[in-house]
Amino acid sequence: MRTSELAGALGLEVLQGEFGDREISGGYTSDLLSDVMANAKDGAVLVTIQAHKNTVAVASLVGLAAVLVCNGREAPQDMLEAARAEGIAVLRSASTQFEVSGRLYAALAAQAPAGA
């Protein structure tokens, strides 16, 4: 699955849609940025409730393809601008991290030969 297909596949709202379209390598669910820094993989989607500029900084350093904001949290404008500058997609769901992670896992497993 590619970044551009995420919103359609998981029923997400696109908050920041200017990104370099790429193949999604997997997902990581966390609200601790140090944890994301340490464990998220390049090309992954971050499932989180941390909707601020620093999430984008971490996403950029780790090489994440997208940040998926859960619980319908508000994403501030400076976060979206930073994400645009870095070419990272920002998507939003009204669902919890648990539900979104489950759907993402299922969607990636369905098409990836080696799973997410």
């Binding site: 994301v36 820094m37 601020h52 620093n54 971490v58 350093l61 090489g63």
Partner: protein, 335 residues
């Protein structure tokens, strides 16, 4: 700074000056807005380094005492000057200004010899005096020109304020050029990584609680390492170390700096802050130990993973800290 210590202008040590200079017309001279006492270091250096001889006009146009005032008037007209020293051989005996000529014209005494109408108490400069003397004399006496004598008291030149200003401008231009070259060289040395040893050196300032810019140093370091063509896995490790150290400074320190040296088989990241220091370094190195407050935790920081993460990705890790002093953390990653 090389001041001319002996006989600073105004000290009167070597050159006693007449207290009441003779009055004269058209003696107005624009002052030179430069103080020999204070001002930019560069300018002070200049006015003490340059000599009166660097500014004076030479050879000087002069008249003998027996010349008529009319002859002097023609001398002024033909040479477009407003003052003429009067000399016997090369000995200065007086000076005539355009004002003296006008007065003679008014009184119908243009055929009289110069010596009867000249000013005898002449204030002169010496050719090896610093230019500072000239600016002081010009500003103090308001005369249009000062004859210049050499050590043997021979008349060798003449100085006006425009001579002084011109020579200062030329010297200042040269000085500014030199300073600009120096600045450009310094900027180039800072901008371009020194290719001598093939290493990249970066340094960033980090400000307390500046979450706006948190991560910028790490982003720049990552970019530079990419530019070196290093392995992505290695870059990732360096990014983790620098980000954790950078965020630690933002969250916990009073400000500090992040420096990175990369090349020749290793990436070294050094984080140095100004305090307040870690009371229990051993505890701080334990995963989950955190002193961060609620609002910092709500941002996703302060989980007690920073230092352990930085150590985990490093091949060589050291931390030096204590209460009341700064913290220095060094992470080296080899390749």
């Amino acid at each position: 700074m090389h001041y001319y210590r002996q006989g600073r202008p105004g000290s009167g040590a070597r050159h006693a000056l007449p207290t009441a200079p003779a009055p004269g017309y058209l003696n107005y001279m624009p002052s030179v807005p430069i103080s020999p006492e204070s001002g930019p270091q560069v300018v002070l250096e200049l006015i003490y380094r340059l000599k009166v001889r660097d500014a004076m006009s030479s050879p000087v146009i002069w008249a003998s005492p027996g010349a008529s005032m009319r002859a002097v008037q023609y001398l002024m007209r033909d040479n477009r000057i407003t003052g003429v020293p009067v000399a016997v051989e090369d000995r200065l005996v007086g000076i005539v200004s355009m004002g003296d000529v006008i007065e003679a014209l008014d009184a119908g005494r243009m055929d009289e010899p110069v010596e009867s109408r000249m000013t005898r108490a002449v204030i002169s400069l010496e050719d090896d005096m610093p230019l500072a003397f000239a600016t002081t004399y010009i500003n103090r006496y308001k005369f249009g020109r000062f004859p210049v004598l050499d050590r043997e008291a021979r008349l060798v030149g003449i100085v006006t304020s425009s001579d002084v200003v011109r020579s200062l401008l030329v010297a200042m231009n040269r000085e500014v050029e030199r300073l600009e070259e120096k600045l450009a060289a310094a900027a180039a040395a800072e901008a371009a990584p020194p290719p001598a040893d093939g290493r990249v050196r970066l340094s960033f300032q980090v400000t307390r609680f500046d979450f706006e810019n948190a991560g910028k140093a790490s982003a720049e370091i990552k970019k530079a390492l990419k530019g070196l063509g290093l392995d992505p896995a290695l870059i990732r490790r360096a990014a983790v170390a620098s980000y954790e150290l950078e965020l630690n400074q933002v969250i916990h320190s009073e400000g500090g700096s992040i420096a990175c040296v990369a090349g020749a088989g290793s990436v070294e990241i050094r984080a140095e802050d100004r305090g307040p220091g870690i009371p229990d370094v051993e505890a701080a190195m334990r995963e989950g130990f955190s002193t961060a407050n609620e609002w910092i935790r709500s941002l996703g920081f302060g989980a007690g993973m920073g230092l352990p993460n930085a150590r985990r990705v490093s091949d060589d890790f050291s931390i030096d800290s204590g209460p009341g002093r700064g913290t220095t953390v060094r992470c080296r990653i080899n390749y």
